[in-house]
Symmetry: C2
């Protein structure tokens, strides 16, 4: 296997995917720092909005690798880490290459500008997979080049684009994904999520999204709560996708405090929300597939007879990414 820019960028992209969706409204970004030719110092990601950017996490970890007891270990605030590195870097990064999946930010927001920081640290090279699309934050490449830092743009751009895609949609309207759990042979009644890992992940998503959409039938039959209790998170607002507007209001989902529930079959309503998760099976997927950006499949490695595609339904996908979630698979698909 070749150990080159693509190899290191792939590590950055894979690390970022671990936090996909969880960084909302920020993009999912990964960063790898390599000293000399191929000495890996750090593989880090941006983990949550308001917290340190990927570059800052990676710079801190890299610095600690050579200075394991340095005071930077105690710093968590981005402004503090920026300030500390600017004063104490002592040219440590001069022979380093920074691989980052997204152009370093150029503006001071909740966290200071990464492009500014890198300009002062003067790494040997900054390899960027994808340019920023955010008007406020972009210009990082220019800032770096003005500071005579050598930059390269476009390494694994396609893969970085898929990683960035939810953020692109959040910025221009809505990102809508469909979550489904199934067995390895595609049955959805046999694929009920049972692992704690997968449950916690779904609840973490519910904690982040603006709206959860669910079919009327599921509400009537399964009577779910649809909250985020497994991560002690916020229960999302819910839209019940249904023509029939009458529901038993004793169903638990109606009783969650501080939650709005809309009952509607008007898909235009989805566009009022930036980040939407739909939970359902094949029938609802077939109805809504034109509106869906990603299909997120949780696949449990069992074979079971059971509910699968019933009538004709042909959808071709591309696999965008996949992770393990405990013993189960998490597969991100995009319609071709």
């Amino acid at each position: 296997m070749k150990i080159n820019d693509k190899f290191f960028m792939k590590l950055a992209i894979d690390e970022a995917w671990k936090y996909q969706f969880l960084t909302y409204p920020n993009p999912s970004v990964g960063c790898v720092i390599v000293k000399g030719d191929s000495e890996i110092l750090s593989i880090e990601a941006h983990k949550q909005a308001g917290q340190a950017h990927a570059e800052v996490n990676a710079l801190k970890t890299a610095f600690l690798k050579y200075h394991p007891n340095d005071v930077i270990k105690t710093l968590n605030d981005s402004f503090d880490i920026h300030d500390y590195l600017k004063r104490k870097h002592n040219d440590f990064f001069n022979d380093c290459t920074i691989y980052v999946t997204l152009e370093p930010c150029n503006h001071v927001g909740k966290t200071p500008s990464c492009a500014q920081l890198l300009s002062e640290l003067k790494p040997k090279r900054v390899v960027i997979a994808h340019e920023d699309i955010n008007k406020e934050a972009k210009g990082g490449l220019e800032t770096l080049e003005k500071a005579s830092v050598k930059c390269e743009l476009g390494c694994m751009k396609k893969e970085a684009y898929e990683l960035l895609y939810p953020f692109i949609k959040w910025n221009s309207g809505s990102f809508i994904f469909y979550k489904m759990a199934q067995t390895i042979n595609g049955t959805i009644d046999g694929g009920k999520i049972s692992s704690n890992h997968a449950l916690a992940y779904v609840h973490a998503l519910r904690d982040r999204i603006d709206l959860l959409v669910i079919g009327g039938n599921t509400v009537r039959v399964d009577k779910p709560i649809l909250d985020a209790r497994h991560v002690i998170g916020r229960a999302p607002n819910v839209m019940i996708y249904s023509k029939r507007k009458i529901f038993d209001k004793d169903i638990p989902l109606f009783k969650v405090p501080n939650r709005e529930v809309v009952i509607s079959n008007d898909l235009f309503k989805l566009l009022d929300y930036k980040f939407v998760m739909i939970e359902g099976g094949y029938n609802l997927l077939d109805k809504l597939k034109e509106k869906v950006d990603f299909l997120v499949l949780i696949v449990t490695p069992k074979m079971r007879a059971g509910l699968n595609i019933e009538n004709n339904m042909d959808i071709d996908f591309e696999i965008i990414h996949e992770n393990f979630i405990g013993k189960d698979k998490l597969i991100y698909l995009k319609r071709k």
Copy 2:
């Protein structure tokens, strides 16, 4: 992400899996060489029986990283590379850690002893995931320790065991795997292998195995050739699993030169062969599941209505490994 022994061993294991089955009758082995603390010099694997072992490929690539125009570049024969490195290493590996998924071999066979070579190169550490189980080849760890090379055994042993499992079975009897192609929702008629990548892989497997098993019904209906033409390989011997012994001998599989065809429903016959692939659907899998070591699924990311599990069939699996094969997935499963 932590950059530690496990991180590097995982790279070695993943690289080895790319050649799983293709190294038969040798084990699939990966090797990563790291200089200093985390400078990755090479990620290599054993690719085919008779060719260089993983360690030798990795040592050669690592040496070339620092000596890009060295004459070692022109050497491919294992004895030549061993001999050259012993004479010319110039202590290059003294600050290197060698990560290898299997204990380095201790005997001189088609290729010379890797333990012997490493003893002379004197790396800083040799980290071994799994001990050798081959009587002839084992003892490498002892040889290394006698030469005062620091060794550690057991890093990612469970993962290395799964990687080694076919080899363990080849050594003690038979390894039997079941190959099935399906869509992402489990239909097997919608999952016909169409990509050239996947086709070539299946043909490469056919070129290696001792016996291909196929159901009588498939032979009657599909009339397949079951050769390895896509890799210009050897067509395997075939066992048609069928109670009814009468077949139309004009079916192409009977006309392949130098091929034996057995028609039988006696599963004990499988144990006469070391390396067996069964190709089929759910029904045959359900019948033969007790005999199967691995299920190898080729999953194409489409959703299609079609043939799936028909009656009751409950199998729980563990995902052992997975790769991409072009745009499709290759998933290795083991029954729980």
